[in-house]
Symmetry: C2
Subunit: 545 residues, 2 copies
């Protein structure tokens, strides 16, 4: 064999090897794999470096835009990965990471994920998913039942019906919300008479057919930003996503909702949908869903509830009533990678009426043929992994009672934390937790008193300075790497509707203890006492005289 | 402690345990996990039952819509899972599974997936992804460079620029295609003068501003069905996705393209985009991208290339010229879970101009703030897993030369298979492979001769009967479970543009051997000889006289 042919042959053999030979248990990757399997928490503590490296430094390790010409040994790559990527990740599973909605998940999810990935099913069609298709349909039915509680006959009739779907499994809540509004839009503008429907003729002709100036979606100002994307994508326009004022408890103001709706109608607009929020992202509050359902009925529009976060609260006998009215929604979003404790990449939207999703139905000749049970005919996405298996596992293994404990635990932990904040002289609870999210800020006791007495202009000046301090505290706490709360900017009636920056805490990890919560506050107090921030406070004090 | 309190305490302890105690290595799940790690292929062969069970029977195991009240032991659940789900999955990794685009992936992807899942990063924002954000930006830059081959300065300037993104990482090619057309639409209808842009004002006002009757997208009739979803979602309407006729090689007919475009302009329509296909889903053909780029320039419209399948062919020095002109596209879709051999759930779209994605930019107060490097500001999806890590691993470990071998191997295997089909007296090659996809059908030698002589009406009658037979053969082969080809319906000039049903074969698995390909054909011959099908052929022969 000539030299080059020999080399090509060797390359081919190497290539076959990477597809057929597993990592040896004592290889770098094999041993990391085993470490994680045996002790994720320990692995994360050992490998995820707490101290924040500047992003600009991290970028140096990921700055070559050229795909390497030659192959690399898996062991060399794994070392690079542990040093440069794993070490510089965020320990989202840490019980002191209480700033975002990404938290720990149960151990069994890890080996089950390996099964899911090894099977590499594609849920777009039965030919590449087989049993995964009925399983996903069952998961959607379980979530549907959690929300709408229909009887066995209903689910026997619809769950596996090839021409219908009770919902859509998505990569996340954003696609779920988009799917809901897409279906609502296409249903409102469905075929009638000469008009062949918006799906075929497009939005402009649909508006002419409906004889209106435009479509509008009404939601509180606490809406998730995915709704803005949805109305942009759907051609409705962000101006027509009307952000209604909220009350002191961050719930939609029903009076203002009526006013906005009247205004829109006066302008010749058609209200496509009301969106109620079942756990706002920033404050965890729940809109008055029952009253919104009444109003949606009055307007004869679609009623969507975005309970990406709060939906699983329905598992709790105690707190389910907080979401009263959700069962009247035409569609409901629930994220599994949030409070169903499934790894990232799993959202769902369910529809009250099994006919609704027909408005976005589509087919193709080589897959998702008419009459097939292929789930791809009712989803925004095409090829999709078998994430529903992990939701199925969570629902089966944890059970309703298990999720109830998780939900109750989170809400009670948040109330407890709120109490700790209120009892601390130097903190101010900004929003009271209704579910398991709260916001607060650091305001020294003396300044709280001054603020209470201050006129509007003085308060504005103080709050502007406080904003910068709160932001600095949040960033330094994050950089120190022991604990993490997020921050956001809220406009609340209590603060004259002028936006202020607050700490935001999400209490979803069942392993978060009182000690951890206490230490989060202590650390914030300590940061506030650092010389530059202490000097800022001294200046504020001096300015107040 | 009273009884109920004791029980509640025990429940809480159980709950903590599932979050903190890993599966014992000798537990059911632990041992499956180890089996898969040590030998996926063996695990799949042992556990995935080849013989097809009827879907309606499988559904029985997934028909309870009620979430179980009580928790289940992980071991019990795992047994259910292996019996009812794993056993009834599709062995997509089998080298005899040559019917769809889902195939095997290298072994190292499995332990790396475990790392990715254990880290549970959320790419929407740096606060929950840290090093994963620069890594994903690097992956997008690598794919950008693969397509556009800009210099180091370009990537140094744009790769990590917080206000820009070279592309979007998506759950799959459908979201990638939607993102491309969304950006194109919003760019065409951007703010100008009084008009504040389609993102804010919506599609109807944008059309008025552009002074046109509607937007249109032109693509060949071989387009992936995701483009239909895209124009529906974007409010453009499916009627305005114009499916242009193809030539004998399933490539867009440039003459017809010009005619359609003239017709649209005559109707006052504005062409938003031309879409070229870099590997059609059904036949693997590549549109004349260079000529389409010229024409897009002439029309002054967006030029998108959907190379979800064929994109990685760019790694091959030999076959890269097949995609000539792709570097002139404004946007390009490439799926990683197809020919980058990454597990399901990874697609990408890259944009020639780093400014394009600004048209869909969005922000929120609590995350993806203005000026942050958060990738969430330029994606359709919100929360997203760290799948980019697996793409990064593939590109690094396999390298350009490794992917070249994979691409060359697939194309050569397809040519070889085409030769086998042509040399077989009882098969007819319907579409010649350009990349690694081909279609063919079973037509006994004598019938091929008759068909060649038949008039249009007779040919139509014969083809209708052949269609049913081909469909039956495909279903029986799938049900037998030894091998799998898919089927589709194609209209080709050679067949008077009347749709016929064909077998479709996708040669992406590097472990597929000549022996396997030969046995696929043998099995089809054997099925065709089964009494009922033999009788069908006898009837056809009799009818022909």
């Amino acid at each position: 064999m000539p030299r080059s042919k020999e080399a090509a042959q060797a390359n081919l053999e190497n290539l076959h090897r990477i597809f057929t030979v597993p990592e040896a248990p004592d290889s770098t990757l094999g041993s990391i794999d085993r470490d994680i399997a045996g002790n994720v928490a320990g692995f994360l503590q050992t490998h995820v470096v707490a101290l924040e490296r500047k992003l600009i430094e991290i970028e140096q390790d990921f700055s070559n835009a050229r795909v390497p010409e030659e192959p690399t040994f898996v062991s060399d790559y794994t070392e690079f990965l542990t040093d440069k990527l794993v070490a510089q990740s965020v320990n989202t599973a840490s019980p002191a990471f209480i700033g975002h909605m990404t938290s720990a998940f149960p151990y069994f999810m890890l080996p089950l994920s390996r099964i899911m990935i090894a099977l590499n099913q594609n849920l777009v069609k039965v030919e590449t998913s087989k049993a995964f298709t009925p399983m996903e349909r069952q998961v959607l039915a379980m979530i549907h039942r959690l929300v709408y509680d229909r009887d066995d006959d209903f689910y026997g009739r619809w769950m596996h019906d090839p021409r219908h779907a009770l919902g859509a499994f998505c990569s996340g809540g954003t696609v779920a919300n988009i799917t809901a509004l897409w279906a609502a839009r296409n249903r409102l503008c469905g075929p009638s008479g000469e008009f062949r429907g918006i799906a075929r003729e497009g939005l402009a002709k649909a508006l002419r057919h409906l004889d209106c100036a435009g479509l509008a979606v009404l939601v509180s100002r606490r809406a998730h930003y995915s709704l803005g994307k949805a109305v942009d994508l759907l051609g409705i326009g962000r101006d027509n996503l009307v952000a209604v004022e909220t009350d002191e408890n961050s719930r939609i103001d029903l009076q203002r909702l009526r006013e906005e709706s009247r205004r829109l109608q006066g302008e010749g607009m058609r209200v496509l949908a009301l969106v109620g929020i079942g756990g706002t992202t920033e404050t965890g509050n729940v809109d008055p869903l029952e009253a919104m359902a009444d109003f949606a009925q009055e307007l004869n529009c679609h009623f969507h509830v975005d309970s990406a976060w709060g939906g699983p609260t329905l598992f709790s006998r105690t707190y389910r009533p907080l979401l009263r009215g959700i069962e009247r929604a035409d569609s409901v979003t629930i994220d599994a990678h949030k409070q169903l404790y499934v790894p990232m990449g799993a959202g769902m939207v369910v529809f009250k009426d099994p006919e609704t999703l027909a408005s976005i139905e589509h087919h193709a000749a080589y897959i998702i043929r008419r009459g097939s049970k292929d789930l791809g005919s009712h989803t925004l996405e095409g090829s999709r992994p078998g994430m529903a298996m992990l939701v199925h596992a969570g629902l089966s293994i944890i059970g309703r009672k298990g999720y109830e404990l998780l939900m109750d635990g989170g809400i009670e932990r948040a109330r407890h934390f709120a109490g700790m904040i209120e009892n601390h002289p130097d903190f101010e609870l900004v929003t009271v937790p209704e579910l398991n999210i709260l916001t607060y800020r650091y305001v020294p006791a003396w300044l709280q008193q001054d603020l209470a007495r201050a006129d509007a202009e003085t308060a504005r000046r103080i709050n502007a300075r406080l904003d910068r301090i709160i932001e600095t505290i949040q960033k330094r706490q994050r950089a120190a790497g022991n604990s993490f709360v997020s921050r956001t900017r809220l406009a609340l009636p209590r603060y004259r509707n002028e936006p202020i920056i607050v700490f935001r805490s999400v209490l979803a990890n069942p392993l978060t203890t009182d000690e951890i919560l206490a230490s989060v506050l202590e650390e914030q107090v300590a940061i506030a006492a650092q010389p530059d921030l202490a000097a800022e406070f001294a200046e504020i004090m001096a300015a107040l005289g």
